[in-house]
């Protein structure tokens, strides 16, 4: 008897904080209930850890399992074996070492390029949506114009002319891909600036930056986070495409894209030069897309009860 009574009351108590739960908390709780979201987050954390460890190791000059840039011409184009798990390339370099070493390039490009594009997109979108009028009109026409360009070709052109290195790649991807975020943030601001709490804040005499950053932006956070997460694989795929065309981070530094690019000459003899690096790009990108989708579902207010 007492046990049922206590469970009933504890259920009531457990329900209570749910009603007062912050939107961020609720989004997080729902995200953790989604198996696809959790699995893909684990994959992302794995990739992130490997990239971090590899980045630190290569700075310290420690390589695992081999030095990714040591050429061993007697060992060239070997299929996967116990000594070289993923085989060797045309210069006898170990593919697994190169893949691991290349992982931090891909993830760095993904995260930093998204940070750049978020910064521009949020700023521009906030200005456009908050002030409206002719400012909004001009900004949105520029956004429309940029959206007409095939973004990959624009990025390729700019990176090739600037000179392909990691800084330029990150900056160019960021500079070209902020338009989606800007549109989204603008739309959020257009609705949120009419809400009662924003009007109240205005009536209280709070300055514009305070309203934008403390009152509106936090309420637009969920869709911004989702676009950021989905932007990361976009940037990773773009970098891989650039590397593949020879305008990514330059050799001898390994990237996932340029391993495939180097391997394409030996396409029919050495499938492992194509299959494994592509698999790395694919799995990393897929994990981010699925995690982003799970976050989007968690942020939707409707889907709480089916």
């Amino acid at each position: 008897m007492t046990t049922t009574a206590s469970t009933a009351s504890s259920a009531e108590v457990a329900d209570l904080p749910l009603l007062l739960e912050s939107p961020g908390r609720r989004m997080w709780r729902r995200f953790l209930k989604n198996p696809v979201g959790v699995t893909s987050s684990i994959v992302i954390v794995l990739f992130f850890t490997v990239a971090l460890v590899m980045g630190i190791c290569s700075m310290l000059g420690i390589y695992f399992p081999y030095n990714p840039n040591t050429t061993e011409l007697t060992q060239k184009l070997l299929p996967p074996s116990a000594a070289h798990w993923l085989g060797t390339d045309n210069l006898g370099r170990d593919v697994l070492s190169r893949l691991l070493n290349g992982s931090y390039i891909s993830l760095t490009v993904g995260f930093v390029a998204v940070a750049v594009s978020l910064f521009i997109g949020v700023t521009v979108g906030a200005i456009s949506g908050y002030f409206g009028g002719w400012i909004d009109n001009i900004i949105m026409r520029v956004v429309d114009a940029i959206l007409c360009f095939p973004s990959f070709f624009l990025i390729l052109t700019a990176v090739a002319l600037l000179g392909p290195n990691i800084m330029n790649i990150i900056v160019v991807i960021g500079l070209v891909s902020w338009t989606g975020t800007a549109r989204l943030v603008r739309a959020e601001f257009l609705t949120l600036r009419e809400t009662e709490y924003v009007r109240a804040a205005k009536a209280l005499g709070i300055r514009t930056p305070g309203i934008i950053f403390r009152h509106i932006l936090p309420n637009a956070a969920a869709p911004i986070i989702v676009t950021a997460v989905v932007g990361i694989p976009d940037a990773i795929l773009t970098e891989a495409g650039l590397s593949f065309l020879g305008f990514g981070v330059q050799p001898p530094q390994a990237t996932w894209g340029n391993i495939i690019s180097d391997g394409k000459t030996y396409l029919l003899d050495a499938w492992w030069l194509i299959v494994f690096p592509g698999m790395a790009i694919f799995i990393a990108a897929l994990a981010f897309y699925l995690a982003g989708d799970a976050l989007r579902q968690a942020a939707e207010s409707r889907s709480e009860r089916k």
Partner: protein, 320 residues
């Protein structure tokens, strides 16, 4: 309706101007020499350099360069640095191949995307829905060049399907049927690879649109008056959900043309994307300006057409 079209046209003209500014300044403002020779080449005298600068208006201020560039582009006098041929002519040669490739890819994306999206919406919230949504993300996450090579490896090992170019080299076809079949085989593979991402994106759009339509009052009415669930789904809901497809066509274009840079390079397909890649390799500034401008203008035109079509189908849009 006429009002709507005129307003749309006016906006498009402004956008075309912005596009021309962006495509010109991105290319001219990037540091690096526009000369097709090395800085230290002893054979290049200052006179040659001067003549080159004069020919491509590089001695003028930037604004004037922009004006001259655009004037020459529209006159057809803008010449490639690489081979001195008019840029428009070079682009014109490649345009039919690119358009046929992209149209085919768009058709594949839309039809398969529609089928997949409708299937997912029919089973919304159940396992088939989850599986198709994961499949869509798998399609988006696969790098195009990787999947191309996987397909090429497979095809070369197990079949003798032709792969590179637009038609088999050195083969004389006795009748036009086999010629067209050969051409079809050459275009099919790049088109399929190019459409993979589009299928995924379209299926997501269709699914979302279907689910939104199914919540409408008239669907509830149709169900309430006792119609077969399938009739309601395929006749009432589907018809009202495919409108976003029209805008989808406009949204598909930039991705297709951007993606075709890589795909055309892999399959040695003589389209605009490959011309662009060659121009990037040669730092051929006039060609790059022209390609970026023309492709963006084509996409603008595509968007304009799809906007107008949308307004024809859905009168509510005209008032916005």
């Amino acid at each position: 309706m006429l009002n709507f079209i005129i307003r749309r046209l006016a906006i498009s003209v402004v956008l075309a101007f912005l596009i021309s500014l962006i495509s010109f300044f991105i290319i001219t403002l990037t540091p690096g020499s526009p000369y097709p020779w090395g800085e230290l080449n002893p054979k290049i005298t200052p006179q040659v350099k001067e003549a080159f600068k004069k020919k491509f208006h590089l001695d003028r201020p930037l604004i004037e360069q922009y004006w001259l560039n655009m004037r020459d582009l529209f006159n057809g006098n803008l010449k490639s640095i690489k081979d001195d041929r008019p840029v428009l002519q070079k682009i014109g040669e490649r345009l039919p191949a690119t358009i046929s490739l992209n149209v085919l890819a768009a058709v594949i994306s839309l039809s398969f995307g529609l089928a997949l999206g409708v299937y997912a919406a029919k089973h919304a919230g159940k396992t088939p829905d989850l599986l198709t949504s994961i499949l869509a993300f798998i399609f988006i996450a696969m790098p195009g060049f990787w999947i191309s090579y996987l397909i090429v490896i497979g095809l070369v090992r197990f079949t003798d399907v032709p792969i590179l170019g637009t038609q088999s080299y050195g083969v004389i076809f006795t009748n036009s049927a086999s010629l067209w079949l050969d051409r079809f085989w050459h275009i099919a593979l790049p088109a399929v690879v190019l459409s993979i991402g589009g299928i995924a994106v379209q299926s997501r759009f269709i699914r979302a649109s279907m689910i939104e339509t199914l919540r409408e009052d008239y669907i509830r009415t149709a169900r309430a008056k006792g119609l077969e669930p399938d009739t309601v789904f395929f006749k009432h809901a589907l018809r009202n959900s495919i409108r976003p497809l029209i805008t989808g066509i406009g949204g598909l274009l930039p991705g297709l043309i951007g993606g075709s840079v890589i795909i055309e390079t892999i399959f040695a397909y003589p389209g605009l994307g490959r011309l662009g890649y060659e121009a990037v390799l040669e730092r051929d500034y006039p060609t790059l300006v022209a390609i970026n401008f023309i492709v963006a203008a084509l996409i603008l035109l595509g968007n304009l057409i799809s906007d107008v079509l949308y307004a024809v189908v859905d009168p509510r849009v005209r008032l916005e």
